[in-house]
Symmetry: C2
């Protein structure tokens, strides 16, 4: 621009200012629209009318670490709560390699084809960077991503499972208020996250592949007992016979477990997410479960229990958080741990010493 150029020998006089090549008015408008978040009221009415953009913005507030954002998020959640709780929440777990993404894509498409609105969320506390490894690569579900009746949101990031779980729980409320009637929550069955997911869903599905042995090693203890259904994926081509065998084995194993308080007997089934076979049977099975637990009252009871659980869990987590971040405790903890390790102090005496300092 002329008026910014250095004065040289060729310079004659200052000309009149040249007009900006970018309209300042237009720029201001863009900057303003980026900076000005819509009000809580705008987001609430957007969500309740099923506006995906409002939903996404509200979820971003839920996931924020900014206090103002969180207060706004709380306002939105409070307004959405009476409109939530109308969906079926399905948890899906399985170690990497069982084909979770392909399964969720096939399962989700099956549901949207039936006229359902499906939200797919994930809980993966390991992914503090880049918004999660699961679902991070949306191209793995390219059909579902394009489906206007599906909404895919990667795992919230966070340092603790508790934090990620809170964000996902609140995101469920927002999705339900936005009209999604089926919420699918994915997790990797290797850490503690599947216990958290189990505590926020109505139905828990464990995805496996046939060929017992190695792939079972990776799955966390206790998950099999949590499952309402075990689905053996990749039952296609040469795998069909193996998958059937695995089905028999898992069925036999499940019979040794104690009965569920839901009154439901866990089912084992096979499918091929790749060939899209067996998917309808899985939905039928989930519907059967849903009818059972809604008629026997377990559905509502479990949701109430889950609410109480999350309230208690949050309290518990915050109490521990406060304790372990206390300067005196930080200073003493390692020393007491060492004394316990060297059999100089019983674990109880060590705990009591620390608590004495904390409550002093």
């Amino acid at each position: 621009m002329e008026n910014n150029s250095k004065k040289t020998a060729l310079h004659e006089k200052d000309g009149i200012p040249q007009p900006e090549s970018i309209s300042k008015t237009a720029l201001d408008k863009v900057v303003r629209s980026r900076k000005t978040q819509p009000s809580a009221a705008t987001l609430i009415s957007g969500i309740l009318s099923g506006d995906i953009s409002a939903l996404s913005r509200a979820i971003t507030l839920v996931e924020s670490t900014n206090l103002d954002h969180l207060m706004k998020a709380n306002e939105i959640i409070a307004a959405c709560l009476p409109h939530a709780n109308q969906s079926l929440r399905i948890g899906i777990t399985g170690v990497p390699g069982v084909g979770k993404s392909t399964f969720i894509e096939a399962f989700g498409k099956h549901l949207t084809a039936m006229g359902k609105k499906v939200a797919v969320l994930a809980v993966d506390p390991s992914s503090t960077i880049s918004h999660g490894s699961i679902l991070g690569d949306k191209t793995r579900m390219e059909e579902l991503v394009k489906d206007k009746n599906a909404y895919i949101r990667p795992s919230a990031s966070g340092e603790t499972l508790g934090g990620v779980a809170r964000k996902t729980r609140e995101t469920i409320i927002l999705c339900e208020a936005a009209g999604f009637d089926t919420i699918v929550i994915e997790t990797v069955g290797v850490g503690q996250s599947e216990t958290a997911v189990h505590s926020m869903v109505d139905f828990f599905l464990l995805l496996k592949i046939s060929g017992a042995g190695d792939e079972l090693q990776g799955i966390k203890r206790g998950i099999m007992e949590m499952a309402d259904a075990i689905v053996i994926n990749k039952a296609d081509g040469d795998n069909v016979a193996k998958a059937k065998l695995a089905k028999t084995e898992f069925n036999r194993a499940l019979h040794l477990f104690p009965a569920k308080t839901s009154g439901w007997i866990p089912k084992v089934t096979t499918c091929s997410a790749y060939e899209k076979t067996g998917i309808d049977a899985i939905w039928d099975l989930i519907s059967e479960y849903s009818s059972l637990v809604k008629s026997n009252g377990y559905f509502g009871e479990k949701r109430q229990e889950q609410n109480q659980y999350w309230m208690m869990e949050t309290i518990n987590e915050q109490l521990k958080n406060h304790f372990y971040h206390h300067p005196e405790i930080i200073a003493l903890l390692e020393q007491k741990k060492k004394a316990v390790q060297n059999d100089e102090l019983s674990p109880f005496a060590a705990a009591m010493d620390l608590l004495g300092q904390y409550f002093k």
Copy 2:
């Protein structure tokens, strides 16, 4: 006595005081011996020399709710700690009716016959009255009770599992310091107590009876996965074939579980505690486990982990205790719970409100 009688017409004069029919010196001695607890030092040296009476008195101090007693108990435990940790700790669980008492009697007698010193403890938080329902009736183990190389102590009483667990953990230390090389800890597999017991033993044994079905219903979820061995008891008479079948089934089921970090593959075996058959094989199996985990380092690691676990658990329990007994929290809790129940408040918002009050 003359000098206490009423003065009547027959009364002449006060005679000399008659001697007391009970020697005051003797009485004082009895009262004093009842009131005067031996000093901590006396109890410590008693325990370390294997004196059962000193051991019992020290355990009574551990179980006391009197602060002076607990301080004394802590002193004794601290002195015993360097002499503890030399035993093998075996947890035994099973629902009522599987024959735990008969099994422990047969098992214990087998061990004492081998020259071992066996302490049998119990964790049963349900028994707040009368020192525990399990082991409460020592006549169920009349052979073992008479055995001078066995020591049987019923479950401590206490309102919380945490309290009972602490007492048992400390009792283990005292028993080990008194020279017991095998600690058997019994629990009923219906509550949460078996998780606590699992966290204080080296080897966890699940006792069952054959005839799959009903008796499995009572056992808590997740216990089968904790077990290092499943023993099918009452494999006698008509039951032998059924027990063998159950063994095959459980073996098959255990194969579906993920591998244990101990490197141990859980075993299934049958026995008849009544006919005293199969007991030796169970001990062989436990010895095999013990050799494995001592050689691969898991034994020591697990004990260290257990110590850390109990330290953390105690802290956690006390933090919650303090929170839920806080007057402001007591006043608010039900109100917040109700708001969550009516979908007026999310579980997280409710928790945050309560925490705000607590830390104010």
